[in-house]
Subunit: 386 residues, 2 copies
């Protein structure tokens, strides 16, 4: 397998973008990524397009990527549509990276795009519910917020996490998002505001949840030769792992811990080497579990980690400098590639007001999808080393 | 890249299967493929699942493969959902083959499943329409049958194809399907019956079109080592190519010709070496164009080829011995893998009443998806050599 590099990245602003279409957002993200890569677009040999819900929102199923990439002008290369719930963008990235690593193509495009806002919120919510088994969880009425709430309460009971610690994750991510011109929300919030916002599923309040969003993001992946030609500091993909799982056995490590272990091994590093991370805070408290599963701290130590500000900008390991799902936003299929974009910008020193100084050398992306209770899940971890 | 082999294949019976779910059909196809492969299912390292329309028919979008493979008991391996209209199954096969060729996994599962029949035919038709650009062709009302009709008429005008020759393709495929216990239709039809059946889009009549269908099919792909352990005659995948295209330039070869050329080159053979083929006869007359684009005959010679019976069982190059889309059926996401199954059975001498004797040594699969007029299209061609 060959070494692979991220040649360029891009994302649209995320948000409630009622006047933008998937085609329009894909156009912006792909061409910005091409410009960022400084490549000839004719050198792109294959494209993977991640989207989770278009069939149920815009009505375009079946050939979503072909339709988007026709608009872009890139529809004569092999195009493969992938779908893995909120990890669809990471799945596209994973396959694009595999295609270059294996020599199938010298350059590959990964595009993620999602439109969740439409004229009917019920339609959007129904679409989101298809990321669980509609015949089982769908009929039981077990929704994501409820599943997360149960996990959070179990963790609170076991390790003594406080409500203030849960809220602090949202506060931190909003502080970061306020510095990100592409973020959906740029307002700061206080612990009190988070705790006093509407209760969604105790202990998860409204300001601990991520918003629905529209947006697109893209990455172009290539060989070392292509990276050397581009004239910018290339970012190497040291590992890219994708996993799924069924209901875990008792005391079995979660899927993220399992996949992270594989990623660290593939990259030849440990969790202690990570200097910046973008993780899947679908609800803010989950970010705390992720610190533990990713090995950023030991079991039960994530509360102390957030108290100490270790994962804030300026801390020892800034997490979600983009604002995370909570604040940057979460247009499902685009999220995994927006995470990659943020890490690439941080590694290159191009993250503007939210730049970590000195620029970090090793970053991690964790993106999840599907019912978190264990029915199904997809996680992709990309470790990018400059 | 390593050599890759089809270790095992399976398909359910295709048809109007109102009492069967995607999960149920996937269960049958995957376990039959595992038994056919004589492998330990724990050795499967990754799964690619092709489906085109479930989000719009059953409502299960986003994590279709995870939901199906949980039922199968295989949901702890990486699972990737792919979608490329009627070529979704071939896209899953293409990626599964790439994963083994590149060393990403030693064994991979490709599953294709589709449920098109439901309680609302309008819903099914609307879902099928998403294989074109819903904002362009969808609003213009240009449907697949109409597009095919225009192509057929242009070919008739240029080369003098007759209506009887078009009908003869449907007659041949129904004759073949009558010998296939898994085919959706097992009745024979005459040229007169085909020509006198209801006109759909002149010159295409009802009996020249393929039916909607439900069904699943699967293939397990592995390395030479795995193939040697299985105890059956393994079938090598000599080439697997996937292409997309935009509007073709004038006089430019079609996408099938382009992809076929790449596949022959990759396999180190020519069209003259092919001894059996499964091709995408979405409407029967298209099979004639495919003879020409695949190089089975020269431009304009397909009419003579069908007249001579060259592509019938007993002819020099039997095409669609399964019955093809016309008679075996076309549950979109399953079709590409049903085609692979037929070729594997023919190469192994396991095709029952429709077995070519002596068993052929080299077979070709051509599967298409998306709007054939050129807006978008996906074609995968797999050349299997015993």
């Amino acid at each position: 397998m060959r070494d692979t590099y991220v040649l360029g990245v891009a994302m649209t602003r995320f948000g409630k973008l009622l006047d933008r279409s998937l085609k329009d957002m894909a156009y912006e993200a792909v061409w910005d990524a091409i410009r960022d890569s400084n490549i000839d677009p004719h050198d792109i040999g294959i494209a993977f397009v991640g989207n989770a819900y278009a069939g149920l929102i815009t009505g375009q199923e079946s050939i979503r990527g072909q339709v988007m990439l026709r608009e872009v002008g890139l529809n004569r290369i092999p195009i493969i549509n992938v779908e893995n719930a909120c990890a669809s963008g990471s799945t596209a990235f994973y396959l694009a990276r595999s295609a270059v690593a294996s020599g199938q193509a010298d350059m590959a495009l990964a595009l993620g795009a999602e439109k969740l806002f439409c004229d009917d919120t019920g339609k959007s919510l129904k679409a989101l519910a298809t990321s669980s088994d509609i015949e089982i969880e769908g009929r039981m009425g077990i929704v994501f917020a409820g599943i997360y709430a149960m996990r959070v309460r179990a963790h609170m009971a076991r390790y003594g996490l406080t409500r203030e610690q849960l809220a602090e994750v949202a506060v931190k991510n909003h502080d970061h998002g306020a510095l990100n011109p592409r973020a959906q929300y740029r307002n700061r919030v206080s612990v009190e505001e988070v705790l006093n916002s509407r209760m969604i599923a105790d202990p998860i309040t409204l300001l601990m949840t991520c918003p629905m969003g529209d947006g697109a993001a893209a990455a172009i992946i290539g060989t070392r030769e292509a990276a050397e030609r581009m004239g910018k500091r290339p970012v190497r993909i040291a590992a890219s792992v994708l996993g799924s799982f069924g209901y875990p056995d008792k005391d079995e490590p979660g899927i993220v811990a399992r996949v992270a272990r594989q990623a660290y091994e593939a990259a030849g590093i440990t969790a202690a080497d990570i200097q910046v991370a973008e993780v899947h805070d679908a609800v803010a408290p989950v970010e705390l579990f992720l610190y533990e599963e990713l090995g950023f701290c030991g079991p039960g130590e994530s509360g102390r980690m957030i108290d100490e500000g270790a994962t804030r900008l300026g801390g020892r390991l800034p997490v979600n400098t983009s604002g995370g799902l909570s604040s940057r936003g979460h247009p499902a299929g685009a999220t995994g590639l927006a995470q990659v974009a943020e890490i690439v910008w941080q590694l290159r020193g191009e993250a503007g007001e939210r730049q970590i100084r000195p620029a970090p050398g090793v970053g991690l992306v964790e993106n999840g999808g599907g019912n978190v209770a264990g029915e199904t899940a997809v996680v992709a971890i990309h470790i990018l080393a400059a």
